[in-house]
Symmetry: C2
Amino acid sequence: MNSPKPYDPTGIQYYSIPSFLFNTGRSLPVRVAYRSFNSTLPRAVCVPTSEHSHINTTNNFTSGALKDYHVVVVAMLGNGESSSPSNTVTFPQPLYQDCVNASHELFTKHLNINELEAVIGFGMGGQQAYYWMCMRPDFVKSAVVICGSARTSPFNYTLLDGTAAALRSSAGYSIEKARQQGIELTAGLHGYGKVTCAWSTSSAWFKKELFRTVLGLETISEFIEMYDSAFKGWNAADLLALVKMWQLGDVGALRDDGSYVKALEDITGRVLVIASRRDYYFSPEESAIELNYLKLGTLEILETIWGHAAGTGACKEDSEQIDRMIATFLGYN
Amino acid sequence: MNSPKPYDPTGIQYYSIPSFLFNTGRSLPVRVAYRSFNSTLPRAVCVPTSEHSHINTTNNFTSGALKDYHVVVVAMLGNGESSSPSNTVTFPQPLYQDCVNASHELFTKHLNINELEAVIGFGMGGQQAYYWMCMRPDFVKSAVVICGSARTSPFNYTLLDGTAAALRSSAGYSIEKARQQGIELTAGLHGYGKVTCAWSTSSAWFKKELFRTVLGLETISEFIEMYDSAFKGWNAADLLALVKMWQLGDVGALRDDGSYVKALEDITGRVLVIASRRDYYFSPEESAIELNYLKLGTLEILETIWGHAAGTGACKEDSEQIDRMIATFLGYN
C-alpha cells in the first residue's frame, strides 16, 4: 500500500556504468541505485524494486526470512532512483532485460557477487525475477515471484493502458509545456494515483471497509486522497516508462521464436510463485498456468482480500505469511 | 459495449420545462430528450439511458420483451441529449432525483402517461429504476434493474473517482483553456475511455480474448482503440456530471434519516434485479444484499464473462437471456 511518506535516501548508493548497452541497441551512461544490507554475509539475494516502490519502501525481508543473507535492493531503471526519464535527457524506454543486465554488472563488477541465492520480487519485481531465471541461469539459483507473472496478460495490459492514458492526456505530463503555461505539475499524477487506487486491493476489501478498521480513516474519499498523495513525489515520465516496461513484460521476448512456454520450460532453477487470491493485475489462475511449464515451480496462494497490495507489506498477516513462505523455500536451497 | 458509431438522432424529441426545480434548490429551464416507440399502445414502460448510452444506443427491448408496450427511452440529465453541462451554461450537478422528476413531468404533462408498467434500466439506468420505485410508488408498478444497484458501493465509488480524476486532470477538460492553448480537445476523453476499458467486461473475457473471436480484432491494442474511440463524441464535462451522479447514487438520500435499508424496505412494487457474475461495478453479492430488504424482489444472475457489458447488448446470448427474463417478469404484472 502506498502512503504519503517523504522520500528516504538512507543507505542508498549509486553505481555508474559509463557506457551501458540498452536492449534497443543504444549505449549511454547509466547509474544503478541500490542498498546493501548485511554486506559481509556470504550468501546474496537480490530484491528488485516494484512498480510503485523506491529502495526504502520495498519489502526487503531483512528482519525475517533474509536476516542471514546479504540483501541488495536494486532500483529498476525508470523508478527515479536509477537512471530514469526524470534524471536523464532522452532516456530510452527501459525493458526488464536492461534492469537485469545493469544489476548483473553491479553485482559482478562492483559488489563482487558471483552468485545469487535468489531474486525475490513483488509485482514488477516479480516479473524481473522471472527474467533473471531466464537470462542468468548460472548466476541465480532460485526466484520468488510475489504477485507477479512471466508475461503480462491482456487484461493487465488494458488496466495499465488506462493509467498510461490518464498520465499522457494530463495537463501535467508535458512538464516543460506545463511550466510555460502555468498548469499545476502534479495534475497528471493525481489521475494516475486515483485510477490505480481501486485496483490496489480488491472489491471485498472495499466492501469490508478496511480503510476504516485497518487504516483508521473515516471516509472512502480520505482513503483515495491518502493513496493518491503517495504519488506526489513521482515523475509522470518515470511512471510512464515503468508502465510501458510492465506492459511489454514477456519472457518469450528473450527468445528468437518468441515462445513464452519454451522460455518457462527452459528455466532450470527453483521458482516459488506467491499469488494473491484477488489480485487484479496478476491472477492466481494466470500463475497456475505458468506453473505448468516450470520444472521446479511451486505455487502458494494467499487467501486474502488485500489483492495485489498483499505483496506490498500493507497487511501484517499477509506479510508474515510471505516471510514464512520465503524462509521455508530458501531452507531447501 | 461501446463502439464508434456516428451520433444517431432518429426519432428523438425534446420536451421543454420552462422552470425546473433541481434537488439542490435551483430552478432553470431544462429540456428532456426522449424517443417514443409504439406510442399508441396503452401500457407504457420507461427505459432511461445508462452511463455511456445515448437514446438510440440504449437497449430498448422493443423487438422482444417490450414489443407490446409503449416504450419511452428518456435521456438522463447530463448525457448531452437532455440538458447537460455541454449545452447549458452553469448547469448544476444533476442527481437521480432530478432525472426522475424531469421524466415524470414529461410523462404526466406532455405524454399523458399516468402509470408506468415498469422502469427498465441498465447500469445508471438501473439505479434510476430503484429511485423511481422509491420516489413514485403510485406511478410505477415495477422495476427491472440490469447490472445496477440502489446504492453505489465504496469500490464502485473508487473506480469512478479514478475516471473522474483522469478527466479532470486532462489537458482537454478545460475546453476554453485548451482552445486558447491549442491542446487537442479530446485528450481527456481518451484517458476516460482507456481507463474504463478494462472494467467494461471481465478478466476472464480478456483471458479468452473475445476481442478476437467475437469482435474480430487482431490485437488488444485494437480493442482498446475501438472502445476508446466511442467516446470521441462525448463531452468531458457531461461525463464528469454523470460520474458524480453515479457516485452519489443512494436511495437512502431520499429519506430524512438517510437509511438505505428503510428506503428499500418501503418499496411496494415488484423489482427484478438482473446481475452479471463478473460485473466490477455492480457485483451480484451487492445485489443479493439489497434483495434482502425488498418485499417483492427477484434476483437473476447472468453466468457470463461479459461482466458489466452483458447489459449493454454487446453479447447476443446475454441480451436474449435478459429479454426472456424481462418478458417472464412482465407476464406476472
